[in-house]
């Protein structure tokens, strides 16, 4: 595992010294903050209305109206951004042939893949950490429940892990970073919307599709529910994609 960490450190160094990271983070923060402010001011309006007419208004919770919505929107933004973070991981190495450096070193493929994955997770974690000022703002001004915030972050991280592992898989398939990004994005979006077909295909298959959808598992986390089946779902998607990446790279050695 120490070897994977060496790869992770190098990858993180490359991320933080390249403009890609700063552009992605800036765009991410702008979009997310914009959405957050809008959610907050809408909640503000609702609160004023509730004050004016206390009867007949729904129970206003800042968790439900602002934070949950913000997380859900953040997930969409990440869906767009993560393929750009992962696209270079193997595609660039294969294009510049630096992959040979790793293959000739006493490292196992699993360590290389794990190192790349952890680095991308690290980048997303840093992005989430920076964006947390929005939530901190609410913590200062209001009195939200902490639990759902923490589980929300856990859910977002797990879901990001799925996007990342799929993006890395896409990146291992090609030398071209654009193709890697498009494939990763396609996978992420598809796994997001797969549940939409649930209504039209009948009960049995519908349930399966519903289960496969990334977003349906996120909702529990956002409500503060940590269900082991959700965690297992996310972890198994991550493991499956990373396993496929390993197989792709291994088969490439033979060709």
């Amino acid at each position: 595992m120490n070897n994977a960490w060496i790869i992770t450190k190098r990858e993180l160094g490359a991320f933080f010294s390249s403009p890609i990271f700063y552009v992605i983070t800036t765009v991410f923060l702008c979009l997310y903050s914009f959405i957050f402010i809008n959610l907050l001011s809408y909640f503000n309006t609702l609160s004023f209305q509730a004050n004016a007419a206390p009867l007949g208004t729904p129970n206003l919770s800042v968790n439900e109206w602002v934070i949950e919505g913000a997380f859900l929107n953040m997930a969409v933004i990440l869906l767009l951004m993560i393929p750009v973070i992962t696209m270079r991981s193997f595609a660039e190495e294969q294009k510049t042939k630096t992959i040979q450096l790793l293959l000739a070193a006493p490292l196992s493929l699993a360590e290389i893949v794990a190192g790349k994955f952890l680095a991308c997770m690290g980048v997303v974690t840093v992005m989430l950490a920076i964006s947390s000022y929005n939530i901190l703002f609410i913590l200062f001004l209001g009195d939200p429940e902490i639990g759902p915030i923490l589980t929300g972050y856990l859910g977002i991280l797990l879901m990001s892990g799925c996007f990342i592992s799929a993006g890395i898989l896409a990146s291992s398939l090609t030398k071209n970073q654009v193709i890697a990004a498009v494939l990763g994005f396609g996978f992420a979006l598809f796994s997001w919307i797969i549940g939409w077909a649930a209504q039209s295909v009948g009960a049995g298959l519908g349930e399966i599709l519903e289960y496969l959808s990334l977003v349906s598992h996120l909702e529990n986390f956002l409500k503060g529910i940590v269900d082991s089946s959700d965690i297992i779902y996310y972890l198994s998607i991550i493991a499956f994609c990373l396993f496929l990446t390993h197989r792709v790279l291994d088969s490439r050695r033979w060709r």
Partner: protein, 310 residues
């Protein structure tokens, strides 16, 4: 040190290398010579555990490159044809990274980096971004990268390609200094380089070994190698035909106006006849000498014969 037996690599129906068998002993510098596409890189990639072979075995210090590849990788330093450099890193950071993936213990990383910076004359550029370095410096970083874990065996794929003559000389000097402590397999299609550096040559063409010998051995074992160069003052147009009519002469080539290259049967020495002819015809001998076949000729001859036979 390196034992290769019946090594074959197929890509689909095409064979990149066929049944290669050779050995390299400790302390040798072996030149791996062949035209582009002969299978040099393929062989080197197999030896450095980047690609597996289709069949056959390769052993490094008794360890099979496929079965116990982790052991092999520790013993080998590889400089691929395009040096694998992370362009966005500084030289010393990059070398430290390579050291750690080659399991150099943390405490010794900085001394290992210092050592290769010294050996490869990179001290002045240690803090520069690799992308900004000239091709010559990048090549040296590539070499430094291969030596960082102090491997017993160095495999260098075209170490001087794309460099200017001064840089080539520097790299060669560096390799020559390494010969005392390392076993080196280097590939090239530049022949003088091999003659200068290597103690033994393996010539490979279209995936097969066509010759494998010391330089002297190659020169002498070749058939029809004796050639005479004749330079005169005033030869007429018929000189070529006249020379060709001599006994034991196979072919005469007019290299310049007054310069001839005479190819003779192996083991014959028609120098006397050539001299007599020149004297009789009053051409005025300026120079008459036996030409040793250069490796370049050997190389051309071997690879061409091979393709003619095919």
């Amino acid at each position: 040190m390196i034992e290769v037996e019946n090594l074959t690599k197929r890509y689909g129906a095409r064979s990149a290398i066929k049944d290669l068998t050779f050995q390299i002993d400790k302390g040798e510098i072996v030149g791996f010579l062949g035209p582009n596409g002969a299978g040099k890189t393929t062989t080197m990639n197999i030896l450095s555990c980047i690609n597996p072979a289709t069949s056959g075995t390769a052993k490094i210090c008794g360890h099979d490159v496929f079965e116990s590849s982790m052991e092999v990788r520790k013993l080998i330093g590889y400089l691929p044809e395009n040096p694998p450099l992370y362009q966005d890193m500084t030289v010393s950071k990059f070398l430290a990274f390579v050291a750690s993936i080659h399991r150099v213990p943390n405490k010794r990383v900085s001394s290992a980096v210092g050592r290769v910076l010294e050996q490869c004359m990179l001290k002045d550029v240690r803090g520069r971004i690799i992308e900004k370095l000239s091709k010559g410096y990048q090549q040296r970083v590539g070499l430094a990268q291969a030596m960082i874990h102090d491997p017993e065996i160095l495999i260098l794929d075209e170490p001087t390609i794309g460099l200017d003559p001064i840089q080539i000389r520097e790299i060669r000097k560096m390799i020559q200094e390494l010969r005392l402590t390392h076993t080196i397999l280097l590939s090239s299609h530049i022949l003088p380089e091999v003659t200068q550096i290597c103690s033994r040559v393996i010539i490979i063409n279209e995936g097969e070994i066509v010759a494998m010998d010391t330089l002297e051995g190659l020169n002498s074992s070749l058939k029809g190698t004796s050639r005479i160069q004749l330079k005169v003052n005033q030869a007429d147009a018929t000189a070529v035909d006249k020379l060709a009519s001599l006994q034991d002469v196979i072919k005469v080539e007019r290299k310049a106006d007054q310069e001839f290259l005479i190819e003779c049967e192996a083991g014959t020495h028609p120098q006397d006849d050539v001299a007599r002819m020149a004297l009789d015809q009053r051409w005025g001998i300026v120079d008459l000498r036996t030409v040793r076949m250069t490796l370049e000729d050997v190389f051309l001859k071997l690879t061409q014969e091979e393709s003619e036979a095919a």
